[in-house]
C-alpha cells in the first residue's frame, strides 16, 4: 500500500531537492550562485540523511565533472546552477552527452549576458535546447511552470535520463526557484521500465574491464558511427517524448506560445481576454527539446495567429516559427535582462495583436 503523501509549503529550489531525493538521487555537486542557492544548501542538509553524497565543488566546472564521475558509477546524480554557472558546465555537459551518462542538471535562469542580474529570465533557451557545449548532441529539456509540476518533472527527469542514457535539464527561472507553493510530496514511482545499467564502472571483478570514453580516433570513421548512434537515439526521443499542455485552445483564434513561468502568467492573461470576448488559448510546451511540433502545426491550421511571450529578446520564437512552418503570423512579446510580464501586460499585447 502506498504511503499517504503530505502537502508542504516549499520554495521551488527546495522542491527540486525533495523530488530528487525521493527519486533516489544519491549524489549532488554544486557551487553557490543566486537564485539557486537553496538547492546546494538544502542538499547539504538532506543528502547525508538519506545516505547520499553532497560535495560543494570548487567551481561549476568541477561540479559537472563530479557528475560525470558519479554517473559512471551508476548512481542517480544531480547538479544545479544558474545561467553563468551553466555556461561553465557546458564542457562537461558535452562530455556527459557523448559518454551517454544519465544525470539531471537544473538551470534556475537569471538575467544575462555576462554577470547580468539575479532576476528571472529565459535567456538561456538557445543554450539549453540547441546544444550550448561543443559537438552534435541534445539535452532533454523540461520546463515546469508550477511547483507541483516541478516536483513531478524532477522525479521524471531521472527516469528519462536513465531510460535514454542522456542528460536531462530542468529549465526553470528565478521566480520558479524562489516562489513558495504547497506541494504534495508524492512517492516516487518510475514512469518507465528502467533498463539495467550494464555499463557502469565499479571494478572489473568477474567481468572484462569497462571503459567510459568520448574519444573516437580509430578507425577514422568511428566518431561518425558514434554520432549516427546518438542521432538515432535523439530521433527516438523526439518521436516518444513531446510533452505539452493546451489551455482553452478548442476555439482559439490567437494562440499564445509560452513555456515555464511566462506560460503561467499568460494563463491569467487569457482568462482576462476571454472575459472580454477574445478567443485566446495557450500552447505550453513542457519539453522544450523535443518540442511538440505536431501540436504547433495542428493549431496553426485553425488559429489565425500566434503570440510568443518569453522573458528574453526572442529565442523561443524562432522555434515557434519553425514548428508552425511560418504558416501563420507569429507576434512577439518579450524583453531580455531580467524582466517578467504581468497578466495585464500580456492582455494589452493580446488586444493589440488580436484586432490586427
Amino acid at each position: 500500500m502506498s504511503k499517504v503523501s503530505k502537502k508542504v509549503l516549499l520554495k521551488g529550489n527546495e522542491v527540486m531537492v525533495e523530488a530528487a531525493l525521493s527519486a533516489g538521487c544519491r549524489f549532488f555537486a554544486g557551487y553557490p550562485i543566486t537564485p539557486q542557492n537553496e538547492v546546494p544548501e538544502c542538499m547539504s542538509r538532506r543528502m547525508p540523511e538519506v545516505g547520499g553524497v553532497f560535495v560543494q565543488a570548487e567551481s561549476e566546472v568541477a561540479a559537472i565533472n563530479m557528475i560525470f564521475g558519479a554517473s559512471a558509477t551508476g548512481t542517480r546524480c544531480m547538479t544545479s546552477s544558474s545561467s553563468p554557472g551553466i555556461s561553465l558546465k557546458q564542457e562537461g555537459i558535452s562530455y556527459i552527452a557523448a559518454g551517454e551518462l544519465p544525470c539531471v542538471i537544473a538551470n534556475v535562469q537569471r538575467g544575462g549576458p555576462g554577470l547580468g542580474n539575479i532576476r528571472a529570465s529565459q535567456g538561456d533557451y538557445f543554450q539549453a535546447v540547441k546544444g550550448g557545449g561543443h559537438g552534435d548532441y541534445k539535452l532533454i529539456v523540461l520546463a515546469p511552470s508550477t511547483l507541483p509540476e516541478l516536483y513531478e518533472l524532477t522525479q521524471n527527469a531521472f527516469d528519462y535520463s536513465d531510460y535514454y542514457r542522456n542528460p536531462v535539464m530542468i529549465l526553470g527561472d528565478g521566480i520558479l526557484g524562489q516562489m513558495a507553493e504547497p506541494v504534495e510530496l508524492k512517492e516516487y514511482k518510475p514512469i518507465v521500465t528502467l533498463p539495467e545499467k550494464d555499463w557502469i564502472l565499479d571494478g572489473c571483478e568477474g567481468r572484462d574491464p569497462r571503459v567510459i570514453k568520448t574519444l573516437y580516433l580509430y578507425p577514422s570513421d568511428s566518431l561518425a558511427v558514434h554520432n549516427a548512434h546518438l542521432k538515432k537515439k535523439y530521433e527516438q526521443i523526439a518521436s516518444e517524448l513531446e510533452l505539452f499542455e493546451e489551455y482553452k485552445t478548442e476555439d482559439c483564434e490567437l494562440v499564445i506560445a509560452a513555456y515555464g513561468m511566462t506560460a503561467r502568467i499568460a494563463k491569467a492573461a487569457i482568462r482576462l481576454a476571454r472575459d472580454k470576448g477574445m478567443k485566446v488559448g495557450l500552447l505550453r510546451p513542457i519539453s522544450l527539446w523535443p518540442l511538440a511540433n505536431s501540436a504547433f502545426m495542428r493549431l496553426a491550421e485553425t488559429a489565425k495567429k500566434f503570440l510568443v511571450v518569453e522573458m528574453s529578446n526572442g529565442q523561443f520564437i524562432e522555434d515557434v516559427r519553425l514548428a508552425t512552418e511560418c504558416s501563420v503570423p507569429v507576434e512577439f512579446f518579450g524583453y531580455g535582462g531580467g524582466w517578467y510580464p504581468t497578466p495585464e501586460n500580456i492582455l494589452e499585447r493580446i488586444e493589440k495583436v488580436y484586432t490586427l
Binding site: 553524497v53 566546472v61 557528475i67 574491464p209 574519444l215
Partner: protein
C-alpha cells in the same frame, strides 16, 4: 628480479615514442596493482594528453576525462565507491595548468585517491608547447627563444605547492631516468596506493619523465635532461608524509 608479464597490463604495442617515460610508468603502476591484488577493484581516470589512450593499456575499469578534470571525476567515484581503488593518471598540462583548480581542491579536501602525475616539462600530445613545468630557458614551440623571454613565469613546482595544504597526506617526487630511480618510483607509487587502501587520504606521486620527441633530443639525452636539468629545478624527495614512515 622476476621479469614477467603484468596482469594489469594489456598485452599490446603502445603508441608511445621510443624513450618516452609513459610506458615505464604504466608498467610500474600495473606491477603495484598486481602486487596489491587490487586490479579488479580499481577504477582509473585517463587524462587528455599523450596518455589519453591509457584504457588501451591498463586492464581495469577506466573513465576518460575532459582535460584536467580527473581529480573532480575521481572525487565523485571514490566518494560513492569507497571500497574501490581510484587513481588519476595525469600530465603536467592536465594537472598543473587547465586542471590546477581541480588538483588543489581535491588535494585539500583530502580525497582518498592516488594521483600519478607525469611531469615531462612539455605538452607532449599537442606537439611540444610550453607546459606549466617547462624549465626557464627551455625551448618549446611557443617559447622558441626559451621560457622566460616573454613573461611566462618560472616553472610551477607542484609538490612544493601542494605541501602547503593541510588536507594533503603524501607527496613524493621521483624520476624514471635510470634503473635506480625506476625502483624508487615504484616504491613511491606503491606507497601512494597503500595510503589509499588504508584510508589515509590524498597521495600524489610526481614522476619526472622523458619526452625525447618534443624535447627534440635522443632518448639518451632525454634521460640526461631529467637527471641534470629537471632534477635541479624539481628536487626529488618526499614533500609530505603525514604518517611519517
Amino acid at each position: 628480479m622476476n621479469f614477467c608479464r603484468t596482469e594489469s597490463l594489456i598485452d599490446t604495442v603502445t603508441h608511445y615514442c621510443p624513450g618516452c617515460g609513459h610506458g615505464i610508468i604504466h608498467r610500474l603502476v600495473a606491477e603495484v596493482l598486481d602486487e596489491l591484488g587490487v586490479r579488479e577493484k580499481t577504477i582509473a581516470t585517463a587524462p587528455v594528453g599523450c596518455a589519453v589512450l591509457f584504457y588501451n593499456y591498463m586492464k581495469c575499469d577506466i573513465i576518460e576525462c575532459a582535460h584536467g578534470r580527473s581529480p573532480a571525476v575521481a572525487t565523485a567515484i571514490k566518494r560513492l565507491l569507497p571500497e574501490n581503488v581510484v587513481f588519476t593518471y595525469q600530465g603536467d598540462g592536465d594537472l598543473a595548468a587547465i586542471g590546477m583548480a581541480e588538483t588543489i581542491h581535491a588535494a585539500n579536501r583530502g580525497e582518498n585517491i592516488t594521483v600519478i602525475f607525469v611531469n615531462n616539462a612539455i605538452y607532449g600530445m599537442t606537439g611540444g608547447q610550453m607546459a606549466p613545468t617547462t624549465l626557464l630557458g627551455q625551448m618549446s614551440t611557443t617559447t622558441e627563444a626559451g621560457r622566460g623571454n616573454n613573461q611566462e613565469g618560472p616553472p610551477i613546482k607542484v609538490c612544493e605547492l601542494l605541501s602547503m595544504l593541510d588536507g594533503v597526506t603524501y607527496l613524493e617526487r621521483v624520476a624514471v631516468n635510470d634503473a635506480k630511480n625506476v625502483i624508487k618510483t615504484k616504491k613511491a607509487i606503491r606507497k601512494g596506493f597503500l595510503n589509499q587502501i588504508e584510508g589515509r587520504g590524498f597521495s600524489m606521486v610526481e614522476v619526472l619523465s622523458m619526452c625525447p620527441t618534443d624535447w627534440k633530443v635522443s632518448p639518451l639525452k632525454a634521460a640526461e635532461f631529467v637527471n641534470i636539468d629537471m632534477k635541479s629545478v624539481f628536487p626529488l624527495g618526499v614533500y609530505k608524509d603525514e604518517d611519517g614512515q
